[in-house]
């Protein structure tokens, strides 16, 4: 029922995630921020087991910071993605992290990029990605309407169309969504899409 998706635009990348924290039939809260700001120019939208999600994303974020202090230069998005994949792969055959991640980043040299990393350590560099039941609807909408080099407004419109599909077609659709964007000016929250006011 959790849903995370993202796409790459002209000079930016977008990540959208639902903000529900659910335990069986109970909704704990509907303003949970599942898109972690990894560093100044990276966003990591994560879905999956709540404990693993928090643990893994925080662990990655602290290691990314450590790299920066040690080497006086931030990690590239590609490097961060590969680091995450490595950690997931190492843990996979012992006690796997049940977390799916959409990593979006902006590098000065290579521009915006998006990475699909699932819980069994699959890594793909993509233009659009989605996880969860909502992915059936989000990916279909993006397949139909996505084109390269979209502007921010076009991308937000597409994200809204995806959210609309998820809301209307998924039986237990999440109530609220959060949208975050990363571009040359950094990673930041863009907006919320609310149906409830938690």
């Amino acid at each position: 029922m959790e849903c995370v998706f993202g796409m790459v635009g002209k000079d930016f990348a977008l990540v959208v995630a639902d903000s529900s924290a659910v335990n069986s039939i109970l909704v704990h809260k509907s303003n949970e921020d599942k898109i972690m700001v990894l560093d100044s120019h990276k966003l990591m939208g994560a879905s999956g087991e709540a404990g693993d999600r928090a643990q893994f994303t925080e662990y990655v974020q602290k290691n990314v910071s450590l790299y920066q202090y040690r080497n006086n230069i931030p990690l590239t998005t590609k490097a961060a993605a590969n680091f995450m994949r490595g950690e997931l792969a190492t843990a996979l055959r012992k006690n796997p992290y049940m977390v799916n991640i959409v990593l979006a980043g902006y590098d000065k040299e290579t521009g915006p990029s998006l990475y699909f990393i699932d819980y069994i350590a699959t890594l793909h560099k993509v233009d659009k990605a989605a996880f969860g039941y909502g992915s059936y609807f989000a990916l279909s909408m993006m397949d139909r309407h996505y084109h390269p080099n979209m502007t921010v407004d076009e991308a937000i419109k597409l994200a809204d169309q995806c959210i609309e599909e998820i809301r209307s077609r998924l039986v237990v659709a999440p109530q609220n969504f959060i949208i975050k964007i990363v571009d040359k000016d950094g990673a930041r929250e863009h907006s919320w899409r609310r149906t409830t006011k938690d």
Binding site: E58, Y59, K62, N63, S65, L66, Y69, R70, N72
Partner: protein
């Protein structure tokens, strides 16, 4: 096998730990470093040896960041420093991960000092040959702090301190001239202390200022400008001393 388990740092009959004292000697041979605490900033200054012409000076940063709000300068064995700094950086992130809060200056100083002490009481290792000056702002109270650690593992907080080569002269100067300062005045005081023992000039000193916003390394031009100001002030003071004698 048993003989190699014996700690290298053992007590002498008159209660000294010679290895620790020799480590302090190594510190005394290291480059001069000074730290001065102001009301809204803390300044670190380190002597830079200018004889190495072919070396890329950017690769030898003597004042390093441990976290967003903590910086460290040291005197002594630089290789030992690298190891200690690495461990401290990991601890800063580890602390943030486990308690979701940044370290306080005192915490990380205690950690580094604890590490230095461990190596004076373990088998088959020698103490770290360096003293550190750790500066930062407390993330909760916003109070600036300056701490010093040494090879024995002791640490304490200071208003201003110096370590390394000729640290006694610098400390004497600071004791005579210290007063509560802020902003540019603190930077000038630190540079004045350093100039007591170091050849004048921006290319012989590395200076960094820690403010609430973070660490700022001063570049050569900025340092040269402040040095020029200090020289001008000194010259003016000299002239003022001679002038009354002329009136009589």
């Amino acid at each position: 096998m048993a003989r190699y388990d014996r700690a290298i740092t053992v007590f002498s009959p008159d209660g000294h730990l010679f290895q620790v004292e020799y480590a302090l000697e190594a510190v005394r041979k290291g480059n001069a470093a000074v730290g001065v605490r102001g009301t809204d900033n803390i300044v670190l200054g380190v002597e830079k040896k200018s004889t190495v012409k072919l070396q890329d000076s950017r690769s030898v940063r003597k004042i390093v960041s441990l976290d967003d709000h903590i910086a460290l300068a040291c005197a002594g064995l630089k290789a030992d420093a690298r190891v200690l700094i690495n461990r401290a950086r990991i601890e800063c992130q580890s602390h943030r991960l486990t308690v979701e809060d940044p370290v306080t200056v005192e915490y990380i100083t205690r950690y580094i000092a604890g590490l230095q002490q461990k190596y004076t009481q373990s088998g088959g290792v020698r103490p770290f040959g360096l003293s550190t000056l750790i500066v930062g702002f407390d993330p909760y109270t916003g109070v600036p702090s300056l701490y010093q650690t040494d090879p024995s593992g002791t640490f304490s907080a200071w208003k201003a301190n110096a370590t390394g080569r000729n640290s006694n002269s610098m400390r004497e100067f600071l004791e005579k001239n210290y007063k509560e300062t802020s902003g540019q005045e603190t930077i000038k005081l630190a540079i004045r202390a350093l100039l007591e023992v170091v050849e004048s000039g921006g290319k012989n000193i590395e200076v960094a200022v820690m403010t609430k916003e973070g660490l700022k390394q001063l570049d050569e031009a900025e340092i040269d400008a402040i040095v020029a100001e200090i020289e001008a002030e000194k010259a003016a003071a000299e002239a003022a001393k001679k002038a009354p004698a002329k009136d009589t």
